[in-house]
């Protein structure tokens, strides 16, 4: 007779399959609309109260967004730097302690698996944050390196404070060193005796900070932050508002703007860094890294692969999911993300297009829009202009010390 094993949390796997972030209660209390979605296995808000208000808090005051569901991998050990140099395309040796770098990693074909941010906490201590899960890849890559990889996703949580007043709120909280914190830098400090890590990073193209802490500090810190933000227009936001800001900033997201080679079922969907407009991240002068050979070879062959472009579209109709044509008739690609930008006051989009090197093509691009107005579609053919991202460029994002709003 087989005895039943003691029951732990195994019933919750099916009754409540989505995890709750330590900030869940806080955000649930703000929420009036009931729009939740599943972000990486966590129950996360799409809209809390009003999408537009939430968006404007990013650009005009300050927003707070729960980034706990991001995958957080801790990489520790004497060979952590070597390991990350094999894993990622940038030269980690050039990354100073207490800085954050945007980076990406590829498979052996040079196809991008994912992008993410790499925090160098100390010489041999890193944190890698990414949208997708990569534990098997990290472990298999670490084979032969003296390095330990810890999935911290469930043990560390984080919030993102984004918007012009974010620095002021942190000052109010008594965080010293905010004035000296340059973009893409980080430091360790405490809020009411709770250790936290603050970095001047974000996904909005605005002035902003990300704060990481242990789960047990979550409640107290969010309360303190919330209290400090009352007079600075601090607003809790969901994903939709953040998404608008990130499109304006020209940031791409794995499995939305490109298909991670880890997920691609159709081989021709995979993209190299160059195709994502991120060729500048790749450091071919450093030693070996995953995908290097393929990337070098692909540069020699001048293919007309799909690349990601930033587009501005005539008129005000949003173009999400639309098809782009050359000369109004030959399909050249698809829009992957698009919004009407409330700040730039134009219709903007990220799209993957298969274009030749010919200049004439770039000038003769059109988008086919189906605009639904009261159950009838207006079929529009609008002119498309390729621009250089970001769509909006805010001086406050890089100002140091940040202005006190």
């Amino acid at each position: 007779m087989i005895k039943s094993k003691e029951r732990k949390d195994r019933d919750t796997t099916f009754s409540k399959p989505l995890f709750r972030s330590p900030f869940y209660d806080f955000f649930a209390a703000q929420e009036t609309e009931g729009h939740w979605y599943n972000w990486n296995g966590y129950k996360s808000p799409t809209i809390l109260s009003d999408e537009e208000l939430e968006y404007f808090s990013i650009r005009s005051t300050c927003s707070v967004f729960d980034i706990t569901p991001l995958n957080k991998y801790r990489i520790i050990g004497p060979q952590a730097e070597d390991f990350l140099n094999k894993l990622t395309v940038r030269d980690v040796a050039k990354q100073n302690v207490a800085t954050v770098k945007y980076t990406l990693w590829c498979d052996q074909e040079g196809f991008v698996i994912d992008d993410g941010t790499l925090f160098r906490i100390s010489d041999n201590d890193f944190r890698l944050c990414s949208q997708e899960k990569h534990l098997p890849w990290l472990i298999d890559t670490s084979c032969g390196f003296d390095v330990e990889i810890i999935d911290e996703t469930k043990h560390f949580c984080g919030i993102s404070l984004q918007g012009p007043t974010s620095a002021s709120i942190l000052r109010l909280l008594g965080v010293n060193g905010i004035d000296n914190l340059k973009p893409f830098h980080l430091f360790q400090t405490k809020i009411s005796n709770m250790p936290i890590m603050i970095s001047r990073t974000g996904f909005t193209g605005d002035l902003g900070y990300e704060i990481f802490m242990k789960n047990n500090a979550a409640n107290e810190i969010i309360e303190k932050v919330w209290a400090a933000g009352t007079n600075h227009g601090l607003t809790a936001i969901g994903y939709n508002a953040l998404n608008m800001a990130r499109i304006e900033a020209g940031f791409i997201v794995a499995n939305i703007d490109f298909i991670s080679s880890d997920h691609a079922i159709r081989a021709n969907r995979c993209r190299r860094p160059e195709d994502l407009g991120l060729g500048w991240l790749v450091d071919l002068n450093k030693g070996f890294f995953n995908g290097k050979k393929a990337i070098v070879n692909s540069k020699l062959a001048n293919g007309t692969a799909f690349k990601i472009y930033a587009l501005e579209i005539d008129g005000k109709e949003p173009v999400e999911g639309s098809i782009i044509y050359y000369n109004k008739k030959d399909e050249v690609g698809t829009v992957t993300s698009a919004i009407w930008s409330p700040v730039a006051k134009k219709s903007i989009a990220l799209a993957q297009l298969e274009l030749g090197p010919s200049k004439s093509i770039l000038e003769n691009l059109w988008v086919e829009i189906y605009a639904l107005k009261e159950l009838q579609y207006y079929k529009l053919m609008k002119k498309v202009t390729i621009v250089k991202p970001p769509f909006i460029n805010l001086a406050r994002r890089f100002a140091c010390p940040p202005v006190n709003y």
Binding site: M1, I2, K3, S4, K5, R7, R10, D11, T13, F14, S15, P17, L18, N38, G41, K133, H134, L135, P136, I139, D151, D262, H263, A264, I265, A267
Partner: protein, 540 residues
């Protein structure tokens, strides 16, 4: 009664019925002959205990082609498929590994056993899906004969080559590896935890006379995953009212089109005159005439029993003899007084509504297979157990349940001898004991029990050696090799005699594709349009 028909279909299994439906729909006058009192071959629901319906052969609907359901309007004729919510493997240490429909619940459950494996699962499903996408369009096409120089075969070969050519070099390398690997080696490349591996290996062995360590079993896995390409909803499920509901809907569709179906009419011989079929002669002496006969029976039964050897080339008979059709599974069907208790699982856990297994390691599966190789049933068998009445209350009175236990491995003969009653009882007892190990008080709940060894499957349903796929799914018996090289296009050496059972491409499972494909070929031969037969849905 009328004795003259355009087509006679021997056997009312799902493929026979699908075939008959399509031919009747094309305007032919079709007669289906069934030896049993009941219709449906191995897709049946039978009331073997008062008030309780048994899906006593096939027990789950996974592969039935949606194109066929649509063409034959089966939903209109009463077919309802209810999605399955989960599944579970009980482990010997008192835990269980459940599988849930909810993707995140499933991943979290995997995480309980290995975080790395839980993440590797995405890569694994991606790779399986890649292979499914490659193979699925081939299911609803007649396999080309690579040895033929006919235009049609050459152009179909070209289609195949083009599909192969669409793959990148390394995808092609992966595909070849996948088709030839054992499921055990394949899983080793992704997973570290034995329970997880065991739970995933299940689909690689169900219905085959192979163990998880045998090369080629990774492909069999595909055969069971096929339904899930492009997330077509409701691919896996219970037929409401038991598997007989499928046969019932097919029958209803067939009759509505004007087809004739006779039960209790066992065919004795196919009447062949001058290398051409003339009709069939029943065991009771009745004769029916038709210029075209389609056999739903397996290839051995069709050509070794129903056809006189004098009409067949000796080389062909030899090849039929060499066709591998091995019974490897049995069934124990149980009527229960109340829902059995499984103390490891809390009562509201949906995982009990799906397939329940007790084999928590690849080694145990392989050892079960070793017993079979040595000519006996497994001492520690692999069970695929389901309680459809948890999902479908129409099959039993409230509180009572029907439980279907598919048992592997179980040989057609024990140590070379026919099954005796003692053996059969001992086999049943092995199964009950395994369940009772995990479910105290199980024995007391049993109202009635039906033990089916391959012998019963052969005697009742007519499956030679009780093989549920009418022939092993190994590469030497797939595609253009199924069932006989040179006769893989549903035709036989005898003019007017066709095959439409699972012995033919693409093989077993309640899929309906062989029946449909055979109909296409028959209509071609008769120069009749087959525009009513839908092509396979495109895979984008």
């Amino acid at each position: 009664m009328e004795k003259n028909f355009d087509v006679i279909v021997i056997g009312s299994g799902h493929n026979g019925l699908v075939n008959a439906c399509y031919l009747q729909k094309a305007g032919l006058n079709v007669l289906v002959l069934e030896k049993n009192d009941w219709i449906g071959g191995a897709a049946v629901s039978r009331e073997l205990h008062p008030g309780i319906l048994y899906s006593n052969c096939s027990y789950v609907c996974s592969l039935f082609r949606p194109e066929i359901m649509r063409d034959l309007e089966l939903p209109k004729h009463g077919l309802q498929i209810v999605a399955i919510e989960g599944g579970t493997v009980f482990t010997r240490d008192g835990d269980y590994l459940a599988s849930y429909r909810n993707y995140h619940a499933k991943k979290r459950e995997l995480e309980r056993f290995s975080v790395k494996d839980s993440e590797s699962y995405s890569r694994y499903s991606r790779d399986i899906l890649k292979q499914c996408r490659f193979i699925q369009p081939l299911l609803m096409r007649t396999a080309p004969d690579p040895a033929s120089f006919k235009f049609r075969d050459l152009s179909e070969m070209l289609y195949l080559l083009r599909k192969v050519n669409d793959l990148t070099a390394s995808e092609l390398a992966d595909t070849v590896r996948f088709w030839t690997m054992s499921i055990s080696d394949f899983l080793d490349e992704y997973f570290e935890n034995d329970v997880i591996k065991a739970s995933l290996a299940v689909s690689g062995i169900i219905g085959t006379a192979l163990g998880p360590m045998s090369p080629g079993t990774a492909y069999v896995l595909l055969h069971h995953y096929m339904g899930e390409v492009d997330g077509s909803i409701g691919a896996w499920g219970y037929a409401r009212g038991g598997m007989g509901a499928i046969s019932k809907a097919l029958t209803s569709s067939f009759r509505a089109m004007g087809g004739t179906l006779l039960n209790n009419s066992e065919v004795d011989k196919v009447d062949i005159r001058g290398a051409r079929v003339r009709g069939v002669i029943l065991k009771n002496g009745d004769e029916y005439l038709a210029k075209n006969i389609v056999s739903n029976a397996d290839v051995k039964r069709t050509f070794l029993k129903l056809t006189d050897p004098e009409h067949l080339p000796p080389n062909f008979i030899k090849k039929v003899n060499n066709f591998k059709i091995r019974g490897s599974s049995g069934k124990v069907n149980i009527a229960l007084d109340s829902m059995p208790k499984f103390p490891s699982v809390s009562e509201n856990n949906p995982c009990l509504k799906g397939d329940i297994h007790f084999t928590d390691s690849i080694e145990r599966m392989e050892r079960a297979y070793d017993d079979w190789k040595m000519g006996t049933w497994s001492r520690d068998p692999f069970l695929d157990m389901m309680i459809p009445t948890l999902t479908d209350p129409t099959m039993a009175p409230p509180g009572k349940h029907f439980m279907s236990c598919f048992v592997q491995y179980c040989p057609p003969k024990v140590g070379g001898q026919n099954w005796t009653k003692e053996n059969k009882d001992a086999f049943g007892e092995t199964v009950i004991q395994q369940i009772a190990d995990y479910s105290p008080g199980f024995r007391e709940k049993i109202l009635h029990m039906e033990v089916r060894t391959p012998k019963e499957l052969e005697d009742e349903v007519g499956l030679t050696e009780g093989n549920i796929f009418q022939g092993e799914l190994t590469f030497d018996q797939l595609l253009f090799n199924r069932p006989i090289p040179g006769y893989a296009q549903y035709r036989s050496p005898i003019k007017g005699l066709y095959m439409c059972g699972s012995s033919t491409h693409p093989g077993g499972g309640v899929m309906g594709a062989p029946g449909r494909n055979a109909a296409v070929e028959i209509l071609n031969d008769l120069n009749l349009p087959n525009s009513d037969i839908r092509d396979a849905y495109e895979v984008l």
